[in-house]
Symmetry: C2
Subunit: 116 residues, 2 copies
DNA sequence: CTGTATCCTAAAAGATACTG
DNA sequence: CAGTATCTTTTAGGATACAG
């Protein structure tokens, strides 16, 4: 990803950055669905993601203020991730998009087959 | 992109495929905004995309039935891309997401700075 | 438990030249 | 004009080990 998105859309670029991340939306939805959730909990519920990528996604979403990271001074350490109020304003749009994708799954597959 | 998205979200995966493409959404919106549009027209209105990537995105969106490609038997050749009826059912959700991104641009930047 | 660091591979993006 | 082919660079993603 070297080149920049052009001016007209650049204001949406910060969002598009993690939208382009393969796992970001899935991670976000999992946190939203399951409420406050711990690192390993996420790691287990998304079996095919690696620790590294999961941690990257979590950091990015946290930095952008979409999710919140709470660290409890327990032993062993415990952290919980949850969606912030800011993140909640985004959720409906993400859900709408994912729902469209699910609802039109068959149609898309059919369209692809037409082009062999 | 080696690993698969997990079952719960795999139905949305075909859509996520091109959602993950850096340029797909921009190309889609440009076509939607400008009506039927030709290849070089797009190439010029999205200055920072390469011909190759543009052509890839166009083919992918065409294959999935989101946009339509019409070839006119003119000399020199002329093609026009436009959004299909199917694609139009997707547009509102993409627009909503892009709008959110634009509206919250400042907030995201501010959030990032807090984390230095 | 919750991550980070390192190293490696696969995939996407980009530049450029060329064809129908 | 509307792309495709080729080649190189860049970036994302993954495996694994290990640190606080």
């Amino acid at each position: 990803m070297a080149k920049k998105l052009d001016y007209e859309y650049c204001k949406a670029a910060p969002m598009l950055e993690w939208l382009g991340n393969k796992w970001a939306l899935v991670v976000l939805m999992k946190i939203s669905e399951n409420g406050p959730v711990r690192f390993n909990e996420l790691y287990r519920t998304i079996p095919s993601v690696s620790e590294k990528v999961l941690s990257q996604v979590l950091r990015q979403l946290t930095t952008d203020g979409i999710i919140r990271r709470e660290l409890f001074p327990d032993v062993p350490p415990r952290t919980e991730y949850s969606v912030t109020e800011f993140g909640k304003t985004l959720l409906p749009h993400v859900e709408a998009l994912l729902n469209w994708g699910r609802e039109n799954f068959e149609q898309i597959i059919k369209n692809r087959q037409k082009h062999y």
